[in-house]
Amino acid sequence: MNLSETTGSMVGLPGPFAGLSMNCRACHLVDEHTATQPDFMRTYTDFALRSPIPDRGDGKRTAPRNSPPLVIASLDRPGGTLFHFDGEFSTLEDLIVGTFTVRNFGWLPGQKAEAIQHIAQVMRGDNGKGPIATMFDGLPYLILFAGSNSTNPDELRLPSEFRVFIGSATDQKIFDAVVIVVAAYVNGLRFSQTDDAGNLIRSQFDVF
């Protein structure tokens, strides 16, 4: 994942997570490359024709498609939502399960249970001091997901419906909690509707 691929396989810009393993943001990019290319702002999409996937020695290096934009992707639609251009998933939660546990994250067919077990292991063992955690709150997942822990600042208390006791929950329960929290984040990705002064900045088509 050392590159944000652009015009071809293994051709592109230095990846924002070079040296680390796959995450969602490696392909759902935002402003990672605007420092060198000001017009390279993305709406949680990538530059590739087909998004790169981890090398597992099976010759597969890309997904069948690129990474679709996520901003407003989950807006309600008549007839319900469909995700991916071929309508692979009908809910955001299914899409997240079908990303965390499959080839996009390096898991081969038949490894879904192993993927869930591994994700639960990371959630249980995290100490909140890693490079990603310190970019955010610096709290272990175990405390973040407990919600009511006295060391949690109020602004980091998860609403009760998102909480799970990571120390005692099953792998599946922990994984389910991860999925619904990521879904909540993606659901919140919207274009701004107003400027700093509160004026509407919608499309001109909204006038009609």
Binding site: F17, A18, G19, L20, S21, M22, N23, C24, R25, H28, P54, R56, F100, F105, G106, W107, L108, Q111, E114, A115, H118, I119, Q121, V122, R124, G125, D126, N127, K129, G130, P131, I132, A133, M135, F136, D137, L144, F145, G147, S148, S150, N152, D154, E155, L156, R157, L158, P159, S160, F162, R163, V178, I180, V181, V182, A183, A184, Y185, V186, G188
Partner: protein, 88 residues
């Protein structure tokens, strides 16, 4: 008929009682502040919107991938950083 003058007599008493109750509650509230315990309602129901910030952290979490599983299988720990990590 409502005795208008009684209203004037009663009002300062009501206000005075209210101030007394409010001051008492304020003092009780300040006394409990040293425990740094969150109000029961926030601790119980959480803060709406927090799921977005926690979700963003999970969105960029790099350890869920099979590559990191292989790293753990080689004897490393969950909080060990991949040796090739490049962070500025």
């Amino acid at each position: 008929m409502f005795p208008f003058n009684r209203r004037h007599n009663a009002f300062p008493q009501v206000v005075g009682t209210s101030i007394l109750i409010f001051t008492s509650l304020l003092l009780v509230g300040c006394e409990g502040g040293s425990n740094s315990a969150a109000p029961a309602s926030v601790a119980a129901i959480g803060t709406p919107g927090t799921e977005g910030s926690v979700g963003e952290r999970l969105f960029v979490e790099t350890r869920f991938a099979q590559f990191f599983k292989a790293y753990l299988d080689s004897g490393e720990k969950v909080n060990d950083v991949l040796p090739a990590a490049i962070w500025s």
